[in-house]
């Protein structure tokens, strides 16, 4: 059960969050088809760090990118993504 430091809410339990996908598998709906299918259907799936999009679904509902290690589960960095927000 990770503790994920939400950029807006601070440290929270993992059950409030949802994993969406890796940042390199984001499909641009307006992009060309072959790039889109490469993004959708190929993964590095490394035994190490990867950048992943998560959402604080049961918390502030905001989205963020976690740089997370897939063996040690250490979370090296969290970066908020989404519209510009008041502090």
């Amino acid at each position: 059960m990770y503790q994920i430091t939400c950029p807006h809410c601070g440290p929270r339990a993992q059950t409030e969050f949802t994993y969406e996908r890796t940042t390199d598998s984001v499909v641009d709906p307006a992009g060309d088809a072959s790039t889109a299918m490469q993004a959708l259907y190929t993964r590095a799936n490394p035994m190490g760090l990867d950048d992943e999009i998560w959402r604080h679904t049961y918390g502030c509902r905001a989205w963020m990118v976690l740089t997370r290690h897939r063996v040690t589960h250490e979370i090296h960095a969290v970066k908020a993504i989404g519209p510009e927000a008041l502090p």
């Binding site: 807006h8 409030e16 509902r61």
Partner: protein, 164 residues
């Protein structure tokens, strides 16, 4: 124990989602002028007699009470959307409310971590709930209407466990 911890469903009240999508600073000052208090920071609340703003999300405030004053301050930078029909508010009052809200939960509702005036959204017994620490002996829980009865039962059943 003088007064036991209780869970009471409050009557429906106008609730709106106030969302800002552009020029947040400019809109914030316009709202402050209109309301007389600044938009609360993340996981805080603020209000005057007629309206309370509770912030659970980076770009959205839950507005409780009369929002008409805000309608024409938003311009093209934000919107108000009614959401009250989908929420049941519970007042959880008494000395054990902080302990009760940790039942089936994962969020720290102790006084240090969740002081009076604070707000937080979390999950309790598989239901997404929003909390507002109204005072030292009362907390308001905003529960999706469809889950209200089930969660109320869950809290009732756990009451006997509170440290007597």
């Amino acid at each position: 124990m003088t007064d036991a911890t209780s869970i009471i469903a409050l009557p429906a009240a106008p609730l709106h989602a106030l969302e800002i999508w552009s020029n947040p600073m400019a809109l914030a000052t316009r709202v402050q002028k209109a309301l007389g208090f600044a938009l609360p920071a993340m996981n805080r609340s603020a209000g005057n007699g007629s309206i309370t703003l509770l912030r659970f999300e980076p770009t959205v405030w839950l507005a409780e009470g009369a929002v008409s004053v805000l309608v024409d301050t938003l311009g093209d930078d934000g919107a108000l959307t009614a959401i009250g029909g989908g929420i049941v508010r519970f007042r959880i009052a008494g000395p054990g409310w902080r302990e009760l809200l940790m039942e089936g939960g994962v969020f720290d509702t102790s006084a240090a971590a969740f002081p009076v005036g604070a707000t937080a959204a979390t999950v309790i017994d598989h239901v997404g709930v929003r909390l507002h620490a109204e005072s030292d002996d009362a907390c308001i829980a905003y529960v999706p209407s469809s889950y209200a009865q089930s969660l109320h039962h869950f809290w009732d059943e756990a009451l006997p466990l509170l440290a007597s």
